[in-house]
């Protein structure tokens, strides 16, 4: 049960953060400025790293005794060496730690799809909006947003399906712990099937996950189709 709740927390927060961060970045990178291609390349870097390695890199960064994060926090006098933030070893923070890592790896994907969507919008609607005297916000609200809708839908849909499947990062960074504080559905299934050898139970669990994802995507797609009309 905790695994299901954790999965929902994970999906909801990663998608929200990644979407807004990705959208902000895509809007910024859609303008032309010096060094733009460098920024694009730098942002895309995390997407290419083997997810397994991502887990370890962040584990190293979070480390309580020699990780740079706590060092920086101490140098900024936000924490002390005696009472460091325990990140992955703290039940209330471990899931957050995984969420931040997931955002590092996949916000670039969100950005890429949204940027591609932005670049496929023709100039004419903007010119028309300008002639009509629309302000910045109005232009965004009534021109950019509706035209970007299919890209937004694709980005959110693909990321949500993938976020429900989250396994690697949890397996590597926290192993579901401490306790069950960062256990998610896929990981719980793995534990049951391959560690406790309850294959039947695990198979049943897999079907429940499949059902939830299918239900979600169907509702989402239907909602999308209605919005298009």
């Amino acid at each position: 049960m905790i695994a299901i709740i954790n999965t929902f927390i994970f999906v909801a927060s990663t998608i929200t953060i990644q979407f807004f961060f990705g959208l902000a970045l895509a809007l910024v990178l859609n303008r032309s400025f010096r060094g733009r291609s460098f920024v694009v390349a730098a942002v895309l870097l995390p997407m290419m790293i083997v997810p397994v390695a991502t887990g370890y890199i962040w584990w190293m960064l979070y480390d309580v005794s020699y990780g740079p994060f706590n060092y920086i926090l101490e140098a900024a006098r936000l924490t002390t060496h005696e009472a460091p933030i325990k990140w992955l070893a703290d039940p209330s923070l471990s899931l957050l730690g995984v969420i931040i890592t997931d955002c590092w790896q996949y916000a670039p994907f969100m950005m890429l799809v949204l940027l591609a969507g932005l670049q496929s919008i023709p100039v004419e609607p903007y010119e028309a909006a300008q002639i009509d005297g629309a302000g910045r916000w109005q232009t965004f609200r009534h021109v950019t947003f509706p035209l970007l809708r299919s890209a937004i839908a694709v980005a959110i849909l693909i990321r949500t399906i993938d976020a429900f499947k989250i396994f690697d990062l949890v397996y590597l960074m926290t192993y579901g712990g401490p306790g069950t504080s960062s256990e998610v559905a896929s990981f719980y299934t793995y534990l049951n099937g391959f560690r406790f050898f309850r294959m039947g139970y695990a198979s049943a669990l897999s079907y429940v996950i499949l059902l939830i994802v299918t239900l979600f995507t169907t509702i989402f797609l239907r909602f999308l189709r209605r919005a298009e009309r």
């Binding site: 870097l45 790293i49 997810p51 370890y56 890199i57 060092y71 969507g117 896929s186 294959m199």
Partner: protein, 281 residues
């Protein structure tokens, strides 16, 4: 009037710079840490305060990770699995996508949706059935088990992406080729295929990256004979000592092919993703 516009522009520029700066620090810092750790001597990886620039740059980590602890095996195996998988997927997906795009037969639409729906499947849901299946066939811990398993996940994606490209292609050229005496098949090979090469490259790339990075099936379905890169890396975490340097070194070597591919084929990649993804919905 002019003043407010000016002030608004200033504010906007400040916001843009802020977002870019935050993004750069957030995205680059972990990567920088990966690079710098891969050159640190063993004790320096655990020093406190952590060093931001390695005191002395050494290549020991690369030797340990690649030669002593399976790194080269991982890269070889990942290359084998990823290449064969990509070839297989492209060979099946391209004709499938072409026929779905060009011929309307009974239920062709629902067939296409059905193909896509298998992408929604969480891999863990089929991990157990697949494990049992491959065990029955006697394919556990073999290359072909991974190649075929990844194919099952790459195919829907590849079919939909290629289908989008073929639908975008005007029919006229193939029709005139057929008037000139080409069969459907030669029209496909001689006319449609050359025109969609960029799309094919992009599709192949995504398949390659997916099978290069996949972890869960590799853990579940293989042990010793086959060891892909994502499986090798966790092996560098041993009981009480974690070989950070070696992990970073192997990771970096593992990312290099992808970075090179993406650099050379950047154009295809972004274009392929846009079209394929947006049509995929």
């Amino acid at each position: 009037m002019k003043k407010t516009v000016l002030r608004r522009n200033l504010l906007e520029n400040a916001a843009v710079i802020m977002i870019v700066a935050v993004a750069l620090i957030f995205f680059i810092f972990p990567f920088y840490w990966l690079v710098s750790t891969s050159f640190k001597v063993y004790y320096e990886q655990f020093s406190y305060p952590p060093t931001f620039i390695p005191g002395q740059a050494v290549l020991t980590n690369y030797r340990i990770g690649l030669v002593d602890l399976w790194g080269i095996k991982g890269i070889t195996d990942s290359s084998i699995v990823a290449s064969f998988n990509t070839l297989l997927v492209v060979a099946i997906a391209t004709p499938a996508a072409y026929s779905l795009a060009r011929f309307k037969f009974k239920r062709s639409e629902s067939l296409a949706t059905w193909i896509l729906s298998s992408r929604m499947l969480p891999p863990i849901a089929v991990a157990i059935p697949l494990f049992l299946l491959w065990r029955m066939v006697g394919w556990l811990d073999t290359y072909q088990a991974l190649v075929f398993t990844y194919a099952a996940f790459n195919l829907p994606f590849a079919v939909w992406m290629m289908k989008g490209f073929f639908e975008d292609l005007p029919k006229d050229m193939e029709e005139s080729a057929m008037v000139d005496g080409c069969s459907t098949f030669t029209a496909f090979v001689r006319v449609a295929l050359p025109l969609t090469t960029p799309a094919l490259v992009a599709t192949a790339l995504f398949c390659f990256i997916f099978s290069w990075n996949e972890f869960m099936f590799a853990v579940v379905l293989t042990r010793w004979t086959v060891k892909t890169l994502p499986v090798v890396i966790p092996g560098l975490v041993m009981g009480h000592s974690i070989l950070w340097g070696a992990i970073c070194a192997v990771t970096l070597i593992g990312v290099l092919p992808e970075i090179l591919i993406v650099l050379f084929l950047q154009r295809y990649l972004v274009r392929g993703l846009t079209l394929g993804a947006i049509r995929g919905a």
